[in-house]
Symmetry: C2
Subunit: 217 residues, 2 copies
Amino acid sequence: MKNEKATKKPVRRKLADIRKDNSDQILLVAEKVFAERGYRGSTIAAIAEEADLPKANILYYFKTKEILYKAVLGRQLGIWMQHMDAMTVDQHPRDALRDYVRNKIKQSKDHPNSSRIFAAEILHGAEFLQEKLRTDLKDQFDRTCEVFRGWIAKRWMDPVSPEHLMFMIWSSTQAYADYSFQSSIMLEKPEMTEEDYEAGVELITRLVLKGCGISLL
Amino acid sequence: MKNEKATKKPVRRKLADIRKDNSDQILLVAEKVFAERGYRGSTIAAIAEEADLPKANILYYFKTKEILYKAVLGRQLGIWMQHMDAMTVDQHPRDALRDYVRNKIKQSKDHPNSSRIFAAEILHGAEFLQEKLRTDLKDQFDRTCEVFRGWIAKRWMDPVSPEHLMFMIWSSTQAYADYSFQSSIMLEKPEMTEEDYEAGVELITRLVLKGCGISLL
DNA sequence: GTCTATACGAGGATAGAC
DNA sequence: GTCTATCCTCGTATAGAC
């Protein structure tokens, strides 16, 4: 066994574990900072301070700021897409769409930072994310559009454009993360409540279902 | 022959006009750069280069980068809100909402930069815009919600939440500017066409009207 | 593996010539 | 009103002690 002498820790932890814990912690903090201030607005110093570590330590784990940012993006892509997959052509669109809208808004509530990072990234041309959009997201998008087409073929919903329906659901649900600062100002409260999100779910579900000719019951 | 007044412009123009022309030109270019790269990502050098002027000239007209950015924001707020005002309680919601959606998407198409600047600003906490949101936009928002309530009272539409309906219309129409990079990737085209915007108008109008119990005819 | 000190470059802002 | 040269701060990244 090598390097046994090197460990000063009383607890026996593999170096790989320490590394993973620390880099997970950094990723978590970086996600928050990037979401709040954007890629260029975020400084390594700010991330370091938030993580309560010296600057150099951040760069020990992630060699450059760009590498760290891409790591954050990559980690979030799965979270961001995970619910699209749940819709299948065998389900009735009433249930599938209702669940999707609910889950997507719940995600906006629980992980607003993932959503904001993606939104900012796309807004500015998806410089770092373009390739993943063209592959991962595009595949998922096509599969989901295919499900919508299946429902239309079964006469379970009206023949609306699957692509634009998807855009509408994405944007209106994401708004509950991306524009929540604005929404809470309009609603005159310090921040959105559970009831506000619930009202959003209800309204969007209603518009989608009735709009596509699917009865609500 | 030495052109005796070569240093001066041959056309007699007031200094005030020169100033206005130049600052207008700078604002136009700055709008583009800020939209593409965000506030912190934009450099005065980049704006100067795009405007084909030296750096110092930009700062002669706008003392600081922040002042320039706020000028851009202020200039766009009107454009961004102008169509909300057009909806009145006397109109039938079928016509008013259809026109609003159409105009809002047209705006996303014609002025994508205004929309992107606002979206980025709000995403990151509306640091520079918060006051204007609390006053100008909030007032307009309240008036429009009041119009919706009037329609509901007249039984012209179902009793849906005016606030969340507004959020839904804002976000889904704005997406045609903010997320157009993503949308065009999903649609597998270099950029969105006239027909794509038209399909968006149609889908959103349909969902809003049918969703609120307003007949389409 | 952790941290201090520092090199180095980018970018905002200013002085002052023309 | 226009522009060159320059200052200076801030932020990334590295070297090297512990």
